[in-house]
């Protein structure tokens, strides 16, 4: 059977592409080897966040798309905002710079002094000197967001093949584990396992731990992230931890975060969790008493330069890539889908696609 577009992978990125493509009129089939949202997407935090890094423009556009997504409540979207928190006075100049830089992208943010910070978030440790509020940031429940996007794709005529693994790209299509062949333009959106089908595009799993707490009354209303978070993202040789706490609608808290490269083992590491929680207690001492109900791990799809591959793969017939979003795949899924489909259909693009061009890995 022939298709306009074959999307491999039912995580947030594949689901967003299937939805955008089928709504643009492409006859789309999405193939997922397990069930939707059981990869990186199901283990993440669902923080829609504008980081001051190379993905800034893609994130800004993506947040616009999240805000205007029809039937958004189905994704449990909540406009919590983010507060970046300085640990010491030394972190304050960095937050000022971040604020100015965000402003050049029309992203509003407000510097908070000691008093403002504690008025907004009274549970924070008393000695923390200030922070930066980014009010436009939000949170979603990623599995529901995927279900929502796949529902839209279905209604626009897309087919879903679940429990079917793509074992090879055939040049003009794909071959499934049971031998069946499908033809059409292919998008590889398989997240951390992207290199299995496209070895020329390197992606490595980057492990993270998350803890979810019991429901309890809490004064925390914003996603709280320490100002030093980005150092941890850029450091790739050692395990890093940073305070990153998200309030959930029922009073639960999602508590993170950690990053470790080069580890395949899913098991929870006691020592990493311990370091992570110590970091969290530094900012939120009251959380010592909170009860955890579950700890789990997930793998972020990390590329060598920290940027995702979005675009056509050189040297192959009609194969496109959309993977490698590291810790920002939920945030940037909608922008990624828009960019990829615009490129595919040769429509004018809203963003510069060059930084994401897969060719950079092949030429290097």
């Amino acid at each position: 059977m022939s298709h306009d577009l074959i999307v491999i992978g039912g995580g947030i990125v594949g689901a967003a592409i299937a939805s955008t493509a089928s709504e643009a009129g492409l006859r789309t089939t999405l193939i997922e080897s397990a069930l939707p949202a059981t990869g990186a997407t199901g283990s993440g935090m669902g923080h829609l966040v504008i980081l001051d890094d190379a993905l800034l423009a893609l994130s800004v556009r993506s947040l616009e798309l999240w805000r205007t997504l029809p039937d958004r409540p189905g994704t449990e979207y909540r406009n919590t905002g983010t507060i970046w928190i300085a640990e010491t006075e030394d972190d304050l100049p960095g937050l000022e710079e971040q604020s100015l830089h965000l402003a050049t992208h029309q992203v509003a943010s407000h510097l908070l002094d000691h008093r403002d910070l504690h008025a907004l978030e009274p549970d924070l440790a008393g000695d923390l000197p200030g922070g930066l509020l980014v009010p436009g940031d939000a949170t979603v429940y990623a599995p529901k967001a995927v279900a929502h996007l796949l529902g839209r794709a279905r209604r626009a005529g897309a087919h879903l093949l679940l429990g079917q693994k793509v074992v090879a790209l055939t040049g003009g299509g794909v071959r499934l584990a049971d031998g069946e062949k499908l033809t059409g333009v292919v998008v590889v959106a398989t997240g951390p396992s992207g290199s299995e089908l496209l070895p020329e595009l390197p992606v490595m799993p980057r492990k993270g731990h998350l803890v979810v707490t019991e429901r309890a009354p809490s004064t925390i209303t914003h996603q709280l992230v320490e100002a030093g978070y980005l150092h941890g993202v850029r450091e790739t040789r050692h395990a890093t931890v940073a305070m990153n706490v998200q309030p959930r609608p029922g009073g639960q808290l999602l508590v993170g975060s950690s990053r470790e490269s080069g580890i395949q083992d899913r098991a929870v590491s006691v020592s990493v969790v311990s370091r992570m929680l110590m970091r969290v207690f530094r900012f939120l001492p009251a959380l010592r008493e909170r009860k955890a109900i579950r700890i789990w791990t997930g793998f972020r799809p990390a590329t060598p330069d920290g940027l995702p591959f979005i675009g056509q793969v050189p040297g192959r017939t009609d194969v496109w890539a959309a993977f490698g979003h590291e810790g920002l795949g939920i945030t940037t899924a909608l922008g990624t889908a828009e960019l990829l489909v615009d490129l595919l259909l040769n429509r004018p693009v809203r963003l510069d696609p060059k930084p994401f061009n897969p060719a950079r890995a092949i030429e290097a």
């Binding site: 069930l35 508590v255 929870v268 008493e289 109900i293």
Partner: protein, 431 residues
């Protein structure tokens, strides 16, 4: 603080106590952990108003007098690792206990099947209602209905009656002739025959419906009445409390986390050999974690496990015939009081299945791919981590939402304070 013992035992019920005493007798040091304030497990709970019975006093004295046994009451095991080690938490803080061997004897919990109104305050598990009553909860003069299946129903009703409750009716799903067949076999287990007789006499005058079940709990803010159906005829009985008992399911979570092999029937039990050894070296399991069989069987399994760990294999093997005898009793109870299908069909689409996350049966049936139920509805993602609703789902929708061991064996076992988890790393032996 880390403490080391020759043998760690989780659970001070009949199985754990028997194992502890066997091991102490053989000269081993034992660390015995239980979240209850008193030893004895589910069956050994004493009524708080009563002076402790003789058997109970003897147990406690023996435990205290035995300097090889260190008993840790009021300590919940919130996590474990295959060292083997147990991480416990209490009001005072947390401890890490290690042992050369580990015996798991955490018993079982009640199976709860949802039906319309089951979440109303006043509806409880029969064993839970019994335990609450024993711990001093006032039931004097209150109207109580017991419904479900099997001997536990009678035992619970007996306790509440002694504490002054008005038992309106006991509703047993099993047909009268099936019960008669069971009773006819009882003489093979004289102690059980006597117990049954005592209970029957004690409950004389209380209506005992057979072939009947509660189809609905009625009430606005809390339970006011129940609807009972007996062979097609329906009646409404007003009451303050309903105690339901549909059977027990083993507490396998610790074993699962330690990687012990399980069987499913459909509820998981830990697989053991004739010496109570699990598939993991150095880890044994005894009592109802290996299957529901009653206190006598649990005690025997504890003794066998104790001998096995102490290397007294001939003593362990000599108990095999008695083990078989009591295992048969458990099998007879299971056979004659097996749950009947109509009890699995009471819940409607509006009935809540997962109380922690407020998920209805209708929402679960609406998920197209049954493997996605948990992710999409958050069934079992609340504080009880599916201990109640997963078992119910296995009964109501066999084959649905089967969970992978890796998913269910994530830490912690029970809600644990973040500082307990954070400090574990400091205590883990540097390896």
């Amino acid at each position: 603080m880390t403490e080391h013992f020759d043998v760690l035992i989780l659970g001070a019920g009949p199985a754990g106590l028997a194992a502890a005493e066997t091991l102490a007798h053989a000269g081993r040091t034992v660390g015995l952990v239980d979240e209850q304030t008193d030893p004895g497990g589910q069956i050994g709970r004493r009524a708080i108003r009563q002076r402790p019975g003789r058997a109970f006093r003897k147990t406690l004295t023996r435990l205290r007098a035995n300097d090889r046994i260190t008993y840790f009451p009021s300590q919940r095991v919130v996590d474990c690792d295959p060292h083997p080690a147990l991480v416990t938490e209490s009001d005072l803080g947390y401890t890490r206990l290690t042992g050369a061997s580990l015996i798991l004897a955490p018993g079982a919990r009640e199976l709860v099947l949802p039906f319309p109104g089951w979440t109303l305050p006043g509806v409880l598990g029969a064993g839970g209602l019994q335990a609450l009553t024993k711990s001093g909860w006032p039931v004097r003069g209150r109207n109580v209905v017991f419904a479900g299946s099997g001997p536990l129903l009678i035992a619970s009703a007996h306790t509440l009656k002694k504490e002054g409750a008005r038992i309106r009716v006991i509703v047993e799903q099993t047909a009268r002739r099936e019960i008669a067949r069971f009773v006819a076999k009882l003489p093979a287990w004289p102690s059980k025959a006597i117990q049954t007789l005592t209970f029957t006499l004690g409950l004389a005058g209380i209506p005992y419906y057979t072939d009947a079940w509660v189809t609905e709990a009625l009430g606005e803010e809390r339970l006011e009445a129940v609807r009972i159906v007996q062979r097609g005829r329906s009646s409404v009985v007003s009451c303050d409390f309903l105690g339901t008992s549909l059977g027990l399911i083993p507490n396998v979570e610790v074993a699962l986390r330690l990687g012990c092999a399980l069987s499913h029937d459909p509820h998981p039990t830990v697989r053991v050999d004739s010496l109570q050894a699990t598939s993991q070296p150095g880890i044994y399991a005894a009592g109802e974690i290996t299957g529901i069989g009653g206190a006598e069987l649990a005690r025997l399994e504890g003794t066998i496990a104790g001998h096995a760990v102490a290397g007294e294999l001939s003593k362990a093997r000599a108990l095999a015939p008695r083990h078989a005898h009591w295992a048969r009793f458990g099998a007879e109870v299971a056979r004659h009081f097996a749950l009947r299908d109509p009890l699995r069909e009471l819940a409607g689409s509006q009935t809540i299945l997962c109380r922690c996350e407020d998920v209805t049966l209708g929402e679960i049936d609406a998920v197209a791919d049954t493997g996605s139920i948990k992710l999409l509805t958050r069934l079992g993602m609340g504080p009880c981590q599916g201990r109640i609703c997963r078992a119910a789902l296995a009964e109501l929708r066999p084959g649905y939402g089967t969970v992978t061991p890796s998913e269910i064996s994530r830490p912690p076992l029970f809600p644990a304070r973040l500082d307990t988890l954070a400090d574990q790393a400091l205590k883990e032996p540097s390896s």
